[in-house]
Symmetry: C2
DNA sequence: CCAATATACTGAAACGTTACAGATTGCCAA
DNA sequence: TTGGCAATCTGTAACGTTTCAGTATATTGG
């Protein structure tokens, strides 16, 4: 018969997860000492510290997240807030990988907090803050005057935005220089002799809408080209809509001879629309498009592309949030990614 | 001068998050009673129950996750385990949305647990189980003999796999019927008069590799068509490789007049390869491809597609895991999604 | 040699929750 | 009246962690 155990931790063969108590029993120390030894507190003797850390490593001790979280309030969680309908597809995938890349060797977990088109974008953020579910938050689809950023700033929770705001408030962000993108695109098209340019914009209301439109407008006047208004669509519209309206546009007398597109998926529809109208890409019209993965050149060789790296964005955003959590100044955690230029197909045909 | 507060919860105006203690103070009951009233325990009077729940709703009480987790071990977390390099892009995005859709009105959070090509796929799963970080796990890239499934079955942690296993063990899964996909694709091509078919397979080693290859082979002999071996690539290869090797294949004397592709991205490369070889899609060769978002027909009208719905997969997987957690029999939580048939372009030109 | 102080360690309390083992009340059968 | 019992409610302990307020021992200065 087994002798009844009085203390569960006396049974070293117990297959249960080790806790500080286990370590304390094994080393003959108190739990307080063990706790401090593990985090290199100064008032612990050097040898004791080493001994504790050795044993901890040996038996694979890992702090219980719930314990830590309950006691300290620290969740070790970063939350990525995503719109479940309107995000660019590769954005979701790449930004997640970018984030996980950075937090891989930290104790942080990534949770994805979704919200739908019909919800107030502030809802998920409010939930996270009110329930204290995360130490840091990453949001996308940033607006010039973004209530979410303002809210989190008020509540003092670290966050980073994908895209800049324009509220006179300082916070970490990562952004792609869409002003430069649009301007370079215009210059490139102008350099090819294109004179009447149309722009398929980002969603109206988001910060990078303005940046893109401004870059487009400034470069346009500088290059002496003119705009063919095409405000009827943005990249948030369905492929169907973009396609039909592009076809309509291209059938008009004064049609653009150059189009700039802010997203790859929209570009597929734009090209379809161009061809629906019986025109030829690269001949009647040239298209410069942003893309985040290298697909467009397989689609049509004639396309001109500018690459935006969402994985990089994810990494930068994660770094920013972690930095803020770690006490860095929010103003020092901002980054802007410059387009690498318009690239034409340099392929095997 | 403010009277010093002896109990923090006596100060009803405190802006702090309400706990059971707060509710207990407000209702004049004990915390135990409040706790039970909130979860509809039978030994609580009907009026008390209503009263407690009313107050709880009024002040916006939400259980502290760390408290629950520490006490009960329940994490209220579902973990989605993803390979950071080899997943299909739209898969990541769609499956996440599918999962979040289902867990939206549950207390569950979704955490994404990544692993890289160089890691043992068992690593992240082992981590999750050892640290008790999730109540349920979803894995993809399932293998016929999958160590992860075996491991989780041994440890008794609820999970669901995207793709079936073949170990004689029963567990929840969701799968797309890739046997049917390949067979239908073959039949469709044969019906068009195509006789020499090549298959671009899923990654060798994954469960759906076998299903796809079997469906291909069976339908092939049934239709009296022949296979042009093309084992040199799978959809896990780079676009470059697929493209080059397709071009090589298509330049040979005995080249396929029909190709079946298991993923949209690969299809882009395949088509590029076909055109590199100077052949015309829809004329010299037809291609049937799986896709998960409606892009391929914009790419080339001549493509034949079969749709796979990853968002549905995400929902089904989440439902399965929640079901298992909720006590349902694992064997009753399996689903297979049938292809809706090969669809040709029915577009506007 | 004593007091002061530095060094190394420790127990108890608390975070918010649930489970266990009562406690109190009212009602009914005997 | 009393014992039994159902119906409600309650205090305490525990989950694993960190922090507070110590304690014990060795070391130093005078």
């Amino acid at each position: 018969m087994d002798r009844q155990r009085t203390e569960k931790n006396e049974d070293a063969s117990a297959r249960e997860r080790p806790t500080l108590k286990t370590l304390a029993f094994m080393t003959g120390l108190g739990v307080t000492t063990v706790s401090r030894a593990l985090k290199d507190a100064p008032e612990i003797g050097a040898e004791t510290r080493r001994r504790v850390q050795l044993v901890a490593k040996q038996i694979g001790y890992r702090p219980n997240r719930a314990g830590v979280r309950l006691r300290t309030g620290k969740t070790n969680v970063i939350s990525l807030v995503l719109n479940t309908e309107q995000e660019i597809m590769s954005f979701v995938s790449d930004i997640i990988y970018g984030v996980t890349e950075v937090i891989a060797d930290t104790p942080y977990h990534l949770i994805v907090t979704p919200y739908s088109r019909s919800q107030d974008p502030l809802d998920p953020v409010r939930y996270l803050v009110e329930t204290g579910s995360a130490d840091g938050v990453i949001i996308s689809r940033t607006q010039p005057n973004d209530p979410r950023a303002r809210y989190m700033l008020e509540r003092g929770i670290p966050f980073a935005t994908h895209g800049r705001t324009d509220m006179g408030l300082v916070h970490p962000y990562h952004d792609f220089d869409n002003y430069a993108f649009a301007a370079e695109a215009v210059r490139h098209l102008a350099g090819m002799g294109r004179r009447r340019l149309a722009l398929v914009t980002p969603p109206v209301g988001l910060s990078y809408y303005r940046h893109t439109v401004d870059g487009f407008a400034d470069a346009l006047s500088e290059a002496g080209a003119s705009e063919v208004p095409f405000n009827i669509v943005s990249i948030d519209h369905s492929m169907e809509q973009i396609r039909t309206r592009t076809a309509q546009l291209m059938r008009r007398d004064i049609r653009p001879d150059g189009i700039i597109s802010s997203a790859a998926a929209a570009t597929l529809a734009i090209v379809a629309g161009i061809e629906d109208a019986g025109l030829k890409l690269g001949h009647d019209v040239d298209v410069v498009s942003k893309q985040s993965s290298d697909l467009l050149h397989l689609f049509r060789h004639e396309l001109l592309v500018v690459n935006e790296d969402f994985r990089l964005a994810g990494s930068e955003l994660a770094r920013s949030v972690l930095g803020w959590i770690g006490g860095a100044a929010p103003g020092s955690l901002q980054s802007l990614s410059e387009p690498k230029g318009v690239v034409a197909y340099r392929g095997s045909d």
